[in-house]
Amino acid sequence: MDRIPILRMGDTLLVTIQVDMQDQTALTLQDDLSNQIAKTGASGVMIDISALEIVDSFVGRMLTSISGIARILSATTVVVGMQPAVAITLVELGLSLDGVRTALNVERGMELLRRSRQENSFGH
């Protein structure tokens, strides 16, 4: 079974989805990611879906729930590189991914995470 690798870059966990997501893969990823956030105490999660061309409602919901889980574990999630076709599909499915932050590419995503980290530290 496919297992999506989770890379650690400093305070950020990086997930690059490069295969078509099966429901089981998505569930495993959600599980792994929650464990990793808790274990490493990461403050940011970046999910790169630029290679993802097919989504269904399950994957859409998975993105929302990962973001929710990460927030509870005090990490910010940013989804980067969504393809136009994927965006249109999600909208047509009625999924607006509320609460999930998005960025055009990995660079902008990193910038967004850095800013949110600063805001959080000011808040403390």
């Binding site: 965006a87 249109i88 999600l90 909208v91 055009l104 590419n105």
Partner: protein
């Protein structure tokens, strides 16, 4: 060859010129130029009709191979007439005018044999009817083709995505927003966002005559898709009447930034991307 068509074939063979003359008179073509053009068409049709009958084509089955050349001639005729803007009625009337001269010729030939005459006339009548019907069918197809092409052209015309500033795109929406239009605009805009890496898109709806719940829903869909991509969106060009309509309809545009004019939207975009415009004089 069935016998009721023998008299018809003889007529077409021997009296071609007379039939054409009578036909054009029957079709009431008084204008010399139009008459001359129609004469060529009439000759063409008659000669193909003759060939089809000679090769033993059964007029009751117009879609068979023997009738293919005649079908083609008729198709060309209707297409040129459709392109010229003549009505379908005129086109079929022209063909139906062929009945009278052929009728009178058959009457003369078969005067001694009323039964054969009745049979011949009936087959002739159905044949010409079928030809006319075919013409109208082709005519309609040609017109629909024209309409479809114009629709496509209109769709493409109405979806330009322009770059206003570094990292700022704009789409001036013009005309009524329906699902297919929105879909096209959305695809074009999202594609451009990916290509240029722009973080901000301005949708200008100055040219949209009315905004109802459906249009608002389409707009919101576009905004959501842009957000999912990781860019941001401003809607501009909201006229006072449209603002009133939106509020009266209870459409929730909260969370979407709106501006009255494209200039205001650009100013906001510049401010957000950190640009400052200063004036020298």
């Amino acid at each position: 060859m069935r016998e009721e068509f023998e008299a018809l074939l003889a007529t077409v063979r021997e009296e071609e010129k007379d039939v054409v003359d009578a036909w054009l008179t029957e079709a009431r073509l008084t204008d010399t130029g139009a008459r001359r053009a129609a004469e060529t068409e009439a000759r063409d049709i008659l000669s193909h009709l003759r060939q089809a009958l000679e090769s033993g084509g059964d007029p009751s089955r117009l879609d068979s191979a023997a009738w293919a050349p005649l079908r083609e001639v008729l198709g060309d005729l209707s297409k040129t007439r459709a392109a010229k803007g003549q009505s379908a009625a005129d086109t079929s009337m022209f063909l139906l005018a062929l009945k009278k001269p052929l009728f009178s010729s058959l009457q003369r030939r078969l005067a001694a044999n009323p039964e054969a005459m009745a049979a011949s006339l009936w087959s002739l009548s159905t044949t010409v009817d079928k030809l006319a019907q075919h013409t109208v069918g082709i005519y309609q197809q040609a017109r629909e083709e024209i309409i479809r092409r114009q629709q496509e052209e209109l769709l493409e015309l109405s979806t330009p995505v322009v770059k206003l500033w570094d990292g700022v795109l704009a789409v001036p929406m013009i005309g009524v927003l329906d699902s297919s239009r929105t879909q096209m605009v959305m695809e074009a805009l999202l594609q451009k966002i990916v290509e240029t890496g722009s973080e901000l898109a301005i949708i200008d709806i100055t040219g949209v005559p009315t905004v109802d719940t459906l249009v608002a829903q389409h707009l919101l869909k576009t905004v959501t898709a842009i957000r999912l991509m990781g860019a941001d969106c401003i809607i501009s060009g909201i006229r006072p009447q449209i603002a009133q309509t939106i509020v009266h309809l209870g459409i929730d545009l909260q969370g979407v930034r709106t501006k009255a004019t494209l200039a205001d939207a650009l100013a906001l975009a510049l401010q957000q991307t950190g640009w400052r415009v200063s004036r020298d004089k």
